[in-house]
Amino acid sequence: MLRKKPLFAALATCALLLSACGNANDSKSGSGAASPSASAKASEKPSNVELRMAWWGSQERHDKTLAAIELFEKQNPNIKITAEYSGMDGYFDKLNTQIAAGNAPDLIQMGGNIMEYVGRNALLDLQPYVGNAIRLEDFDQSLINEATADGKLYGVTLGVSQTALLFNATMFNKAGVPVPNGESWTFDDFKNSALQISEKLGKGFYGSYDLSSDNASFTTYLAAHGKELYRSGELKFDKQDVVNWFSMWDELRQAGAIVPAEVQVANPPDAVDKSLIVKGQVAIQGASASQIFGYQALTEDQLGLLPNPAGPAGNGMSPPVSGQFITSYEGTKYPEEVAKFMDFMVNDPEAAVILGSTRGVPPSAKIRDALSAESTPVDKILYDYISLATKISTGNGYEHFPYDNEFIKLLKLTSEKIAFGAASIDSASEEFMTEMQKMLARANQ
């Protein structure tokens, strides 16, 4: 079970050398090399269980999660949970280091990159606990599918979210442009709204951010045009789709309807406190729906959520996805207690009240209903949006590109090259396709 590497053995020698030099002043140093997991896993019902849980987030999330942990410890006096929380900076660097050394926390908060870890056997198979310790009856199937590979479940959704277009309703009103009907709006509607807003409000105001670099917008665009980014080892789009995509944005750029490249780099939409939507200068940007809390907290303007526009093949949106999962390290000593805590996080009514929507919309329908009485106006916007997205989604679920992070960076680079005029649409798209093919070849090796 413990993941011993060749690397390990050699470095352990160094460690021994060090302790032999008399600098290891703690008595425990010798035991480090022994495998702790095998023996402990066999034992039944341990009386004193210590679990480590890692997550990233804001101060508010830290406070609420700590309160929930305290409640859990009260209910289960034999289990103690050590919290290891931090900001997002370096969270995954640390996690990767810990996994490489076989020292990862028992409970790990994960994002959309869960499959990278599943594919590399870093996470615990939760399937044996589904139905008993972990109850998922009130979960949408799509949320379960997302963390499932080869019929095994690897993560429990902590919060539901969905890609969305975040818009500044106050700006729409100021410009006298009607807020579009999310259920039916198309790319033409999107273009018109953006053009009108920038025209009415004048210099320094823009209808939309330049979303040509936004991977979620790009993939839904492909789906709305009957294509896909990737499925089963193949790219499901061609260069013409890429050219069309960038041409659409270039047209808006020439018309002054979207944020110019320099301004966008200086005020990236994904950095909440730099986003111009908060300052009332840009009306539309891409975001994950649950992020609306962060943006709304920084502005007096009224913000709202819209789905991506529809194309000839319909809306192209995938069914709602998990914003975050709780997963467990494959090397944990206490899988049962881990499962128990996971269930607590998503199904315990008291915990639900404590946690609120600090990780997005609660995944369990029952909990959602119970919470709706106390929901804030922003909660309501988010809940309504998730319902709408569930209703109109047509895509059959997004299959992650094997080198997702590299694809995201490549799209951004291509978009910047075009926006800054460093390359023509045609040559940049050509290069984009070449690099995508190279990655694909690497993945299929």
Binding site: S19, G90, F293
Partner: protein
């Protein structure tokens, strides 16, 4: 040469201050922002805040559940003090060996030592973590302090350069007086390269104070968190960053380094008189 001395000095002061103002502007902006109400931080461009608040200092200092920011300061200062002691002692020893003593393979060791700082730390991070994990030192202060007692190349090189600036006749006369290597090191060389030692101490303090990545990787328990880790707790990529608190605590976090610098700098201002020893 007809310019009166006080006019020349006045011009010098003016030049230094003008340049200094340029250097300081961003820092003054930081300090001013830490006193501005949240809504004004990014909108009010004036350096002098039109309304003052101490809110960020309060929320930064005690706004975290179960822990006060003061704890982070205590941990950071402790780490830094140990590091300074370890680095200065071990590095000056190694430097003395390289600069003054002849022994086989000296050049090889020196080249290897410099080589160690030419490899980017990101690729040795994980192997190093594995070693510390095997020693069961993870989530203790040991990985961040023990290595400091094994000399750091940067400081060894620095001190070597300074020791080599000290005339060798001093050694010879000391040896004639019957001093051994240890006497020579502690009684003659160390006092004479005080500026270098103080420099090394200040840099070590700062470097340790600032070492976000190392501390992030090795420390997990919030009770062991240091100032850089504490500051990151106010930031969240998905929203709700408390920039006010970040600024306020950043201002406070400069203070210890500033005090150390202030205390240490008189050692640069006094020249070292080597003549007294010679005679």
């Amino acid at each position: 040469m007809t310019i009166p001395k006080n006019v020349k000095n006045g011009l010098l002061h003016l030049l230094i201050l003008a340049l200094g103002a340029l250097m300081l502007y961003p820092v003054l902006w930081l300090i001013s922002s830490s006193f501005k109400p949240t809504t004004m931080i990014f909108t009010d461009k004036n350096l002098w805040p039109s309304s003052f608040t101490l809110e960020h200092y309060k929320s930064g200092w005690s706004g975290l559940r179960n822990i006060q920011f003061g704890n982070f300061f205590v941990n950071s200062i402790m780490l830094c003090v140990i590091a300074v002691f370890g680095v200065v002692l071990s590095s000056s020893m190694a430097a003395f060996a390289f600069a003054r003593i002849d022994f086989p393979l000296k050049k090889l060791w020196f080249a290897l030592m410099l080589g160690t700082i030419m490899l980017p730390g990101h690729v040795t991070l994980i192997p190093q973590y594995i070693i510390f994990h095997e020693l069961d030192w993870v989530d203790t202060f040991l990985p961040l302090t023990v290595p400091k007692f094994f000399a750091e190349a940067f400081y060894v090189f620095l001190i070597v350069q300074f020791i080599r600036g000290i005339p060798k006749e001093l050694d010879e006369s000391a040896k004639i007086d019957g001093a051994g290597w240890f006497m020579l090191f502690f009684r003659i060389i160390l006092p004479l390269c005080t500026p270098a030692l103080v420099t090394a101490a200040i840099f070590t303090f700062l470097g340790t104070w600032d070492d976000f990545f190392g501390q992030l990787i090795y420390l997990s328990d919030i009770k062991k968190f240091t100032v850089p880790l504490g500051l990151r707790l106010f930031l969240d990529s998905s929203g709700n960053s408390n920039w006010g608190a970040v600024f306020a605590m950043s201002v406070l976090s400069i203070v210890p380094s500033l005090l150390i610098f202030f205390a240490g700098q008189r050692y640069f201002t006094q020249g070292i008189a080597t003549s007294g020893l010679k005679g």
